[in-house]
Subunit: 276 residues, 2 copies
Amino acid sequence: MKIVIYGLGIIGGSFAKAIKKYTDYHVTGINRSRKPLEDALACGAIDEIGSIESLSSADMLILGTFPDAAVRFVKDNAQLIPQNCIVTDSAGIKTGLCRELSAVSEEYGFSFVGCHPMAGKEKNGFSASEPDLFVGASCVIVPCDAEKGAVETVGNLMRKLRFGQIIYSTPEEHDRIISFTSQLPHVIACSYVMSPTCPKHKGFSAGSYRDVSRVANINEKLWTELFLENRDPLIEEIDILTQNLNRIKSAIQSGDREALEGLLAKSRNIKESFGE
Amino acid sequence: MKIVIYGLGIIGGSFAKAIKKYTDYHVTGINRSRKPLEDALACGAIDEIGSIESLSSADMLILGTFPDAAVRFVKDNAQLIPQNCIVTDSAGIKTGLCRELSAVSEEYGFSFVGCHPMAGKEKNGFSASEPDLFVGASCVIVPCDAEKGAVETVGNLMRKLRFGQIIYSTPEEHDRIISFTSQLPHVIACSYVMSPTCPKHKGFSAGSYRDVSRVANINEKLWTELFLENRDPLIEEIDILTQNLNRIKSAIQSGDREALEGLLAKSRNIKESFGE
């Protein structure tokens, strides 16, 4: 199989390294800037540096860029993508992107299967990529209108790359749940560190400060795009969180020990029931 | 030095184990229930099971219980505590406790030095205690009205137990910062998991869900006490968080890309500046 990867950041780079480590597929890299391509070629993460012309012989195209750039790249080069090629992506948001790419794929005859590898780090760029970034992680596949064979091909590749589980979802379900599991924690972390108390934390903090604030080390361009693409579900989750914060606050404010214990016990039960 | 520890939970138990591992001091354990005492004696964490009479020969008394129980124990047994004894504690909240215990210590002639080891786990009880729980952690010492010698004795012990740094603070400063670094993350975690989306998270979650929700596995009795004891600073931090959540929400709602990027960049800068 000949795989073209567009965008060699942490995710695209990790796909390249994982494919070279765990399969015998041929990997061609395309990237806006030159440096990641040279680094990837030097370390064997790709077999060759490609160009848009490489698309014409691709069996699979993996999009490793931000969602907007991924859609633009496919639209701009759709006529070069062969009909037997499967296009997949790695974006953290699916509804708009899947709608657009499914439409383009239908028009030009290739397949589009949405994909969201549930893995990452606070660091970005090819230098942060790892062949084992996906080991044990969950991979959400969003089949959209693709045929069963194409969906299976993507799933089989992800299993070879050592993902721990494959979940199938719709774009809407994916975005609703992701607004809670991934986007809201980023909103929380950014809101949290904005407290004027934050600069005084040294020596007074242990694990709980570190955990909540971790993802405040954010890529603001990427997450602005992700948040705006998922506006309604994310706003709903922020509102639910604010309501629950206020329930706990009210119990504290009124000194209602029983209500407060009840709320905390409820949270503990949920955490125990649904765990990690 | 003869040290009596009252309350052999995770913190009291870890103090016992650390003192036996890193010093040659004699440790006597007192606990409401029998089991932790027997376990502690069996594994060498204490030299003997004591009773309130043990206080009369103590050079130091370490309080390992919840704050209310610690204050009550000292008040009830103040007449047994020798004048050369240093009483210290491990509570996560200081203003009320320090005021009460400083007053009792002045009345009876012993010393009181507040102490808050910045270490813990999501588990509780003696079985969760470890001799190296404090290694590299921060220890906040709140001298209150104690004489310099007593403060130094507590600091020297904590250094021997391998704390990474000793910070000196006032009860008010301690409680203000702790409301942000420790209490607010617990309020956030509990509020977070109450979302109706939480039960659906499996397969759609990675590190950020796990980190924010970790401390929702809460001891509701302890944290109810800690939250209510620190009502005003904690409510202030909840309000600040809610305001910052709403600033991010407004930028998302109005689709203001520039404002949203600006807010996230601000958070990233704070996180980069003040780090872990």
